[in-house]
C-alpha cells in the first residue's frame, strides 16, 4: 500500500470527522500522554472529566431538539436555565431534601419551562432566519430580568436570602443540605483515584434515551424533517410552526433539568449573572461533537461533552505541571468560540 492510497482513504475520513475535532481530539490525547510527565494523576484527571461530563451533558443535550427542528443553535439556553433555577430555589424554599428535593426541583421547574419555552417558541417562529442572534439576546435579557426578580421575589428560606436584609436571594446558594450530589453519589464507583459518578451518567443516559426514542416517533420524525427542509415538511402536511415550538419547549425543559443536574454536582445554585455565559460552552460542546447548525445527534452530545470537558479539566492541570501557568480560561474561550465560528462559516451550512 503506497502513500497515495493511504492519503486517498484518510482524506475523506478526516473530512467527515472535521479538522477542528481532529485537532482537539489529538490535543486531548496528547494531554493524557504527557500528564504523567507533568506529575498529574491520570485517574484523577479522568474522574474530573467524568464528573464534569455528568454535570454538563444534560445542558448540552438541550441543544438537540432545537437543532433538529431547524431553529439553529440554542443560544437562548439561559431561558431554560432560569426555569431550572426557579424550580431549584422553590424546592429549597419548600425544604425538600435528598432525591425528593432533586425531583421536586424538576417538577416545579417544568411549568415554567413549558410556559417560557412556548412564549420563546412563538417569538422564534416570527423571526425565522434570524433565530440565533435573537435567541442570544432573549437569553441575556431574561437573565437580566431575573436579576431583578431574584431581589424582589418573596423567598424567605434562611438558607437562601441575604442574612442582613432578610430579603433578596444570595448570589450563590449551597444545596449541600438539600440535594447536593444525589446523582453523583448514587452507585458511585471508586477504584483508587478513579471515581465514576454513576448516578449522573445514568440519569443522562435515561434522558438521552427518551430523546432518542422521541426522535423515532411520528412527531420526532416530523421534527427532523422540519429541520432538514421546512418546505418539504409543510408540503407533506406537517405543521411547521407547531413542530418548531414543540422543539423549543423541549429544549427549554432540558435546559431546566440540565441546570438542576449541574447544581447537584456543583453543590451550589448560582443566581443573578450566573446563567449568563452558560450557553456558549454547551453550544460549542455539541458542535465539537460533530453537530452542525442544523444537524445534531445524541452521539454528538456524548462525544462533544467528553472532548470539551476533557480539554477543560486536563489542560490546566497539565499546563500547571509543566510551565506553572494556568491558561485554561483562555483555552476555553478560544476553543469554544472557535468551534462556533467554524460551524457558522462552514460552506455547506449556509445553503439551508
Amino acid at each position: 500500500m503506497d502513500v497515495a492510497t493511504i492519503k486517498e482513504k484518510a482524506l475523506p475520513m478526516i473530512k467527515s470527522f472535521g479538522l477542528p475535532r481532529l485537532i482537539i481530539t489529538g490535543f486531548l490525547l496528547l494531554m493524557f500522554v504527557i500528564a504523567p510527565f507533568a506529575n498529574v494523576n491520570v485517574a484523577a484527571g479522568l474522574t474530573n472529566m467524568l464528573t464534569r461530563f455528568g454535570m454538563n451533558s444534560v445542558l448540552v443535550l438541550a441543544m438537540v431538539p432545537m437543532v433538529h427542528s431547524g431553529c439553529g443553535l440554542n443560544f437562548g439556553l439561559p431561558l431554560g436555565i432560569i426555569s431550572g433555577l426557579l424550580g431549584a430555589t422553590m424546592s429549597v424554599e419548600f425544604a425538600f431534601t435528598g432525591i425528593a428535593g432533586f425531583l421536586m426541583a424538576i417538577v416545579l421547574a417544568t411549568p415554567f419551562a413549558v410556559i417560557l419555552g412556548a412564549g420563546y417558541g412563538v417569538l422564534l417562529n416570527r423571526v425565522k432566519g434570524g433565530e440565533m442572534m435573537i435567541a442570544t439576546y432573549v437569553g441575556f435579557s431574561s437573565v437580566a430580568f431575573m436579576c431583578i426578580m431574584w431581589l424582589l421575589l418573596p423567598y424567605d428560606s434562611p438558607a437562601m436570602v441575604w442574612g442582613y436584609a432578610g430579603t433578596g436571594l444570595r448570589t450563590t446558594i449551597s444545596v449541600a443540605d438539600y440535594y447536593g450530589g444525589v446523582l453523583d453519589n448514587f452507585l458511585r464507583i471508586q477504584i483508587g483515584h478513579l471515581a465514576i459518578p454513576t448516578g449522573a451518567i445514568l440519569f443522562f443516559a435515561f434522558l438521552a434515551l427518551l430523546i432518542w426514542l422521541f426522535l423515532r416517533t411520528k412527531t420526532g420524525t416530523a421534527m427532523t424533517a422540519v429541520g432538514s427542509n421546512p418546505v418539504f415538511a409543510r408540503a407533506s402536511g406537517v405543521n411547521v410552526d407547531r413542530m418548531r415550538m414543540l422543539s423549543v419547549v423541549l429544549s427549554t425543559w432540558l435546559g431546566a433539568v440540565g441546570i438542576i443536574v449541574y447544581e447537584q454536582s456543583f453543590g451550589f445554585i448560582q443566581l443573578y449573572m450566573g446563567p449568563f455565559n452558560m450557553a456558549m460552552p454547551a453550544v460549542s460542546a455539541v458542535l465539537l461533537g460533530g453537530a452542525s447548525v442544523n444537524k445534531a445527534s445524541i452521539a454528538n452530545v456524548v462525544i462533544g461533552t467528553l472532548l470539551f470537558q476533557g480539554i477543560l479539566t486536563m489542560t490546566p492541570s497539565v499546563m500547571n505541571g509543566l510551565i506553572q501557568t494556568d491558561v485554561s480560561e483562555v483555552i476555553r474561550i478560544i476553543v469554544s468560540n472557535g468551534m462556533i465560528l467554524y460551524a457558522l462559516t462552514r460552506k455547506q451550512e449556509v445553503t439551508r
Binding site: 441575556f140 474561550i333 478560544i334
Partner: protein, 365 residues
C-alpha cells in the same frame, strides 16, 4: 407613483424603541431627584466619550452587514495601543495620538480577518461578528495576560503583574485623563463641555457625510442593498464588505481611546467586552435598525440611553430602596432594547417581503 402615506400605527412601531425610552426618562428623571446641571454635565461627558464609538458602527450598517458586534476588536486594538503608551509613559495628548497610531495596524489586521470571516457567513453576519468578538477576546487575553511581559516587552512594574508577566487588572491612565476633554476649557450652565472631543466627533461626522458621497461609499450602499445586483454591475462585493469592517474597526479603536481618556482607567480584561453591546444598544435606542442608521440616531440614542443609565440606580434606590435593582434594571433594559430592536427588524423584514409580493401582483393584474 405616490409615496406611501404615513400610518400612525406604523410610525409608532417604527419608533417604538425611542418612544419607550423617552417615556422611561420622563418618568425617571423626577424620581431620581438629580439636578439639571448634574444631568447636563453627565450627558455632555457621556456624549463626548461615546459618540465616536457609536459613530463607528454606521459604516457596516451602510454596507448591509448589520450591527458590527465585532467592534470589540477595534476596542481591543485601542487598548493595546494604550497599554504600550502607558508602559513607555507617554502622557497627555501625545500619548493618545501615539496610542491611536499603534492601534491602526492592529485594527486593520483584525478588521480584515473579521471581514473575511463574515464574507463566509453571509446572511448571519451579526451572530458571527458577535462570536468573533468573543473568540478574539480569548486571543486578546492570551496576548495580554500571558505574552505581555514575557514575549512582548513590557517593563513598567505598574502594569505587569507581580509574577512577571501579564498585565494587571487595571491600567491607570490618570496622566491622560480628560486631556482631550479639557484641552479647550468651556463651560455652559455650570457644566463643563468637552469641546475638543466634540470637535473631533464633528470631524468624524463630516467624514461620514463625505464618505457617503465617495465612490466607495456609493458602492457600499449598493452592496448593502443588493449584493447580487452590485456584483453584476462589476462592484467587488467581498472587498467592499471587508473594507467597511476594516474602517469600522479602525474608528472603533480611536473611539475606545477617546472613551478611556475620559474614564481614566483601563480595565484590561473587561473594558472592551461590553463596549460593543452598549454602543449598539445606544444606536438602537436612537431609532436605528439593523439596516438603517444615521448620525441623528447616534446622538439621540446616546442622550436617551445614557440618561436612563445615569438615573437608573438612584431611581431604583428611591423607589424600592435598592440601588442594585437599578443597576440590574439598566442591564436588563440594554439587552431588552437590542432584543426588541432585532425582533422588530426581523418582523418588519418579513412583512416587507409580503408587501413586495402583493405589490408585484397588483402590477401584473
Amino acid at each position: 407613483m405616490k409615496r406611501p402615506q404615513v400610518n400612525p400605527k406604523e410610525l409608532l412601531i417604527n419608533n417604538l424603541v425611542p418612544i419607550l425610552f423617552i417615556v422611561i426618562c420622563i418618568i425617571g428623571i423626577p424620581l431620581s431627584g438629580y439636578s439639571g446641571t448634574y444631568l447636563l454635565n453627565e450627558i455632555l461627558s457621556r456624549l463626548g466619550r461615546n459618540s465616536f464609538l457609536v459613530l463607528s458602527l454606521l459604516i457596516p450598517v451602510m454596507a448591509g452587514m448589520g450591527l458590527n458586534f465585532g467592534m470589540t476588536l477595534g476596542a481591543m486594538a485601542g487598548q493595546i495601543g494604550l497599554i504600550f503608551v502607558s508602559d513607555w509613559s507617554i502622557v497627555g495628548i501625545p500619548g493618545m495620538v501615539l496610542a491611536a497610531i499603534i492601534s491602526v495596524p492592529i485594527s486593520v489586521i483584525l478588521g480584515y480577518m473579521c471581514g473575511t470571516i463574515l464574507n463566509r457567513a453571509k446572511g448571519r453576519e451579526m451572530v458571527t461578528s458577535y462570536i468573533i468578538g468573543f473568540f478574539m477576546n480569548g486571543v486578546y487575553q492570551l496576548f495580554v495576560l500571558y505574552f505581555m511581559g514575557s514575549i512582548i516587552p513590557i517593563k513598567s512594574s505598574a502594569l505587569v503583574l507581580p509574577r512577571g508577566y501579564g498585565i494587571r487588572n487595571t491600567v491607570n491612565l490618570e496622566s491622560m485623563r480628560k486631556s482631550l476633554d479639557n484641552l479647550i476649557p468651556f463651560n455652559i450652565f455650570g457644566a463643563s463641555v468637552p469641546l475638543a472631543t466634540f470637535i473631533l466627533v464633528a470631524l468624524f461626522c463630516l467624514f461620514i457625510v463625505w464618505f457617503r458621497r465617495t465612490k466607495l461609499g456609493q458602492d457600499m450602499r449598493a452592496v448593502g442593498q443588493d449584493m447580487e445586483v452590485a456584483r453584476q454591475a462589476g462592484i467587488k462585493v467581498e472587498r467592499t464588505r471587508v473594507l467597511s469592517i476594516i474602517l469600522s474597526t479602525v474608528f472603533a479603536g480611536f473611539g475606545m481611546i477617546i472613551y478611556l481618556q475620559n474614564i481614566g482607567t483601563l480595565n484590561t480584561y473587561n473594558s472592551h467586552s461590553q463596549i460593543g453591546m452598549f454602543s449598539i444598544a445606544a444606536l438602537l435606542v436612537g431609532g436605528a435598525s439593523v439596516d438603517k442608521a444615521n448620525i441623528r440616531n447616534v446622538f439621540i440614542g446616546i442622550i436617551l440611553f445614557h440618561l436612563m443609565f445615569t438615573i437608573a440606580p438612584t431611581v431604583g434606590r428611591n423607589l424600592i430602596g435598592e440601588a442594585q435593582l437599578g443597576e440590574y434594571f439598566r442591564v436588563f433594559v440594554s439587552y431588552g432594547v437590542i432584543t426588541l430592536a432585532l425582533v422588530l427588524y426581523e418582523m418588519r423584514k418579513r412583512r416587507a417581503e409580503r408587501i413586495a409580493l402583493e405589490r408585484g401582483e397588483e402590477v401584473v393584474a
